[in-house]
Subunit: 168 residues, 2 copies
DNA sequence: AATAACTTTCAGTAGTTTTTGAAAGTGAAG
DNA sequence: CTTCACTTTCAAAAACTACTGAAAGTTATT
């Protein structure tokens, strides 16, 4: 396969994957573009490569910075801003995991803890079923949380080494 | 907290979580409703509880069956169909993991393998950066894949036991 | 074979999210 | 203090996704 087509395929696939995970397609595509680009790019470059508007490019870049996935670069003597992506895949995975944990897992754990406190009679089937479901989901959520926390702190090689050791 | 409000909160939260993960909000809410319901429910019940249309309820229930999260139940002497959710949280997690793996991870691994084959000169920075990114993501994806496969086969207690043992 | 009890479909509508592009903002340099 | 080179904002439009409800379809019962 040619590099040019391969790049297009990669950008497209990354965009699709993003949108399946609740991440805006354009954001994922801009990220993909920067990931495979050896040089930092300007807003103009990105607009051209992906055929998107200035406004869209600007917002998307801001969001990516918010997720900790890309950074601004300034070059001496130039007023333009350049953007480049962290190329370390493990960092990317951690960044994304951290952001989603904060936005999604943490609030749901908080809620589940509250819902565990609901009051009712053991003899009421509606109560019993509710309580059991909530308690079980809570346990699962806490295990996921613990594992994520370990991952966030861990080095890649150690993490997968440990996992593989147990699961082989 | 009262059971009635707690149920509403749970359904709302589950719906929100679903939509953040690319799962239709209504589908997640119907699932939540069935999860905390001790009895199997009819389409009619679900329409009423969640104030949704017949068409929506029907499509959503079909999708949930497709995900392996709920089942139809027939009662002797009745023509109505009843629906109930698998209440085992670990099964739910596995079902969802399996479905998403099949739809998302498997295709991306296939593509990454293809993209690893791209040809070019080592001296071309565009080529080198592309290749490195793709190779790294590929490695990560394969590790995730392996872990998921283990999870899909595993018993809950064994799985978390193993994880906790390593990460404590 | 007619009715009744239900389920499924789908064209149109409503609601949500994303994108555009022009205008406003910013601040460095002359 | 004005211009210039850029960045940011945001209202309106477009694109996308989800939902409705009436009509068509299905199957059990009489």
């Amino acid at each position: 396969m040619e590099l040019v087509q391969a790049k297009l395929k990669f950008i497209e696939a990354w965009g699709k994957l993003g949108s399946e995970w609740g991440i805006n397609r354009t954001m994922a595509q801009v990220h993909a573009l920067l990931l495979i680009s050896p040089e930092a790019l300007t807003t103009e470059d990105i607009m051209q490569e992906l055929s998107i508007s200035r406004g869209n490019a600007n917002m998307t870049l801001r969001d990516l910075i918010g997720w900790g996935l890309i950074e601004k670069q300034h070059r001496p003597g130039e007023r333009k801003e350049y953007f480049f992506a962290d190329k370390d895949t493990w960092n990317i995975a951690r960044q994304v995991a951290q952001e989603r944990k904060k936005r999604e897992l943490d609030p749901i754990i908080k809620l589940l803890n509250e819902l565990s406190e609901v009051e009712g009679k053991e003899s009421d089937p509606a109560y019993k079923t509710f309580k059991t479901s909530v308690t079980d989901i809570n346990k699962l959520a806490k295990n996921v949380n613990k594992t994520l926390e370990t991952m966030l702190k861990a080095e890649e090689s150690w993490f997968w080494g440990a996992i593989v050791k147990v699961f082989k």
